[in-house]
Amino acid sequence: MTLTPIDWAIIAVYLVGCTVAGIWMRRYVRNVDDFAIAAREMDVSLGVASLAATEVGIVTVMYTAEMGFTNGLAGATTGVLTAAAMLIVGLTGFVIVPMRNAGVMTIPELFEKRFGKHVRWLAGLVVILGGVLNMGVFLRAGGDFLMNVTGMDSTKSFTLDILGQQIQLGYLELIMTGLLGIVLIYTVLGGMLSVLITDYLQFLVMGLGIVITSVLVLRAVNGFEMVSELQEAHRVGVPIQEALEKQTKAQATRDAAEAQRIRQTEGPEAAKRFAEARAREQTDSLLARAPELAKHKVLVGTSPKKPNADPEPPKILAMAEPFNPTRSKGMGWAWVIWQAIMAFAVVTTWQTTIARVLAARDSQTAKRVYCRTWFYFVGRWCLPGLWGAAAFVYFANHGGLPEGLGSQTAMPRFLGIVLSSSVTGFLGLMIAAMLAAEMSTDSGYLLTWATVIYNDLISPCLRRPLSERAKLFTVRAVVLAIGLFLVFWGLWYKPPGSIWEYLSVTGNIYLASLFALLVGALYWPKANSRGAVAAIVLGAAGPITFLIVNFIVGPDSKYRIPGEWSGLAAFGLAFAGMFFGSLLGGKPSKSQQSQLAPERHTP
C-alpha cells in the first residue's frame, strides 16, 4: 500500500490548487457580508456543490462506513430519511423560505426578531456548544482514515528535543494539524467566498474519487454476490457471536468471584494480578481463534497498541440484519422514527446547511438548492455504507481483521488494499478526494461557527457597532481561535466512546432545542420568549441527563437508556417546553408577532 510518485503528484496538485484558489478570493472581501455570506450572490449550482462538499467529510465517511460494517446497508437508513426530508423541505419551503426572507445572517438572529435579545444570545450559546463540540472529532477521524488507507501506524510518533524538553509528536497529529493550517489560511483570508470556490473544486475531486472507489469496491466483492454474502454472514455469524458473548460473560462472572476470593485471602495486589492475567488469557485465546471464527463470518476487532497504556479488550463482531432497519441490531421502529425527526431537524436547523440558504440569492434559489441536492444525501450514506459492508465481507473471506483494526478502521484499510492493487494513481485520487471532503467540511464549519459567535454572542454585547474593518478582524480572529481549539480538543485530546455516539449526543443538544424554537417562531403566533427559553433549556437538558444516567449505570446495565428513546425524549421535551412555556408566558407583543408575519403565510 505504498503511494507511488503519481499518487503523490495528484495529492500535491490538489492541495496547491485548492490553497491558491482559496487565497485568490481574498481580493473580493470588503465587509462581513462578503466574508460570512458571500454578499448573498451564490447561485444554484455553486450552492449545490458547496452544500454537498460541506456535508461530506471524512468523519461522515467513517461513521457511515462503520454503520455499514456493523449493520450492512440498513445502516444507511439515516441517509434515505435525510434525503426525503431535504426533498420535502425543498418542495414546500418549510422553514427555509421564511428564514431566507427574514434577511438574517444566522438562525439565532432570527430569534431576536421574535423573542428578544436574550433568546438570541442563549440560542447562540447552544448552537456553539453543540456545533463546536460536534466538530471536535473531525480531525482525529480524518487522521485515522488517512493513516489506515495508506497502511501507516496511527500511533507512530517521534521525539523532538526543544530547549532540553523532550516532546513526543505523533504523525497523525502533525498531518492533521498541517491540513487544518491550510484550511485556516484560506478561510481566515477569504471567508465564504474562499469556502465556495474551494468547495466547488473539492466537490469535483471528491465526486470523482467516490464514484471510482464505489465501482472498484463493487468489483472487489463481485457486485451482487455481496448480497448473499451479507445474508449468509448475518445468518451464520450472529448465533456464534451470541454464544461467544454469553461464554465470555459467564467466564467474567467466575473470574470476578475468584478475584474476590483472592482479595480476601491474599490481598488486593494478588487479586489485581489475577484479573490482569485472566484478561490477557481471554484476549490471547480469542485472537488465536480469530482465523477460525472468520470462516464462520465472525470477526475479532482490536485497537492499535498504544505505548504505556493497557490494551483494550477485543470485540466480537458479527453482521446484524443487513437490509431491514426495523429488525437490525441497535435499530428498530423507534430508532427509525427518531432518525426521521432528526432528519427534518438537521435539514432545517443545522447552521452549516442553513448557511447556504442564507447565502442564496433569494428563497427560490434556496429551494432549488435543496431540490437538487436531496438525492446526494442517499449517496452520502449508501456509498460509504457499501464500502463498510464490503470491508466486512472482504475480511471475513480473508482470514479475519488484521491486528489493530476494528469496526471504525476496517474500511480505510480495505480501500487501501483494493485501490493500491488497481490502476496506479487511484489511491492518490482517493486520498485527494478524502482530503477534499475533510477540508471543505472543516472550512464550512469553521466559518459558520465563527459567524454565529461574532453575530450572536459578541455583537449583541457591544454598546456601539464596530467598523467594517474591526468586524472583519474580529470574525477572522474567531475563525483562528476555533481552529486552535480544534487542534487541542479534537486532536491531542481523545474523547471516549464511538464517533457516532459522540456526534449524536453533541448534535442532539442543539437540534432538539433549535428545531422546536424555529417551528414555534415561524409557524405559531402564540410562541413567546418564555416558551423559547424553556425549549432551549429542556431540549439541551434532556440529552445531557440521559448521558449522565448512562454514564452512571454503565454500558451493560439493563437500566441503560437506548439512544433512540433519549433522542425522541429530547425533541418531546423541547416542544413541550415551547408549548407550555408559551401558554404560561402570556401573549407576545403585536410588534414581535409582526416581525415574521409575512413569512408565516409562505410555507
Binding site: S45, A76, V80, G207, N324
Partner: protein, 57 residues
C-alpha cells in the same frame, strides 16, 4: 437473486447514487463554473450595499 424487497431497495439506492453522483459531477461541474464567474463579476462592482464611511474605523 432474492425475494426480499429491502434488498432490491438498497440495490436501487446504490445504483442510483453512483448514477446521480456521476451526473451531478458533470452538471454542477460546468454550471458551477459559470456561477463562479457571475458571482465574482457581481461582487467586483463598485457600488455596494454598505456605505463608504463604514470602511474607516
Amino acid at each position: 437473486m432474492t425475494g426480499n424487497p429491502f434488498v432490491w431497495f438498497w440495490v436501487a439506492m446504490i445504483a442510483g447514487s453512483i448514477a446521480w453522483y456521476s451526473y451531478l459531477l458533470f452538471h454542477v461541474g460546468v454550471k458551477g463554473g459559470f456561477d463562479i464567474l457571475r458571482m465574482t463579476r457581481a461582487i467586483s462592482r463598485p457600488p455596494r450595499s454598505e456605505p463608504a464611511q463604514d470602511e474607516s474605523p
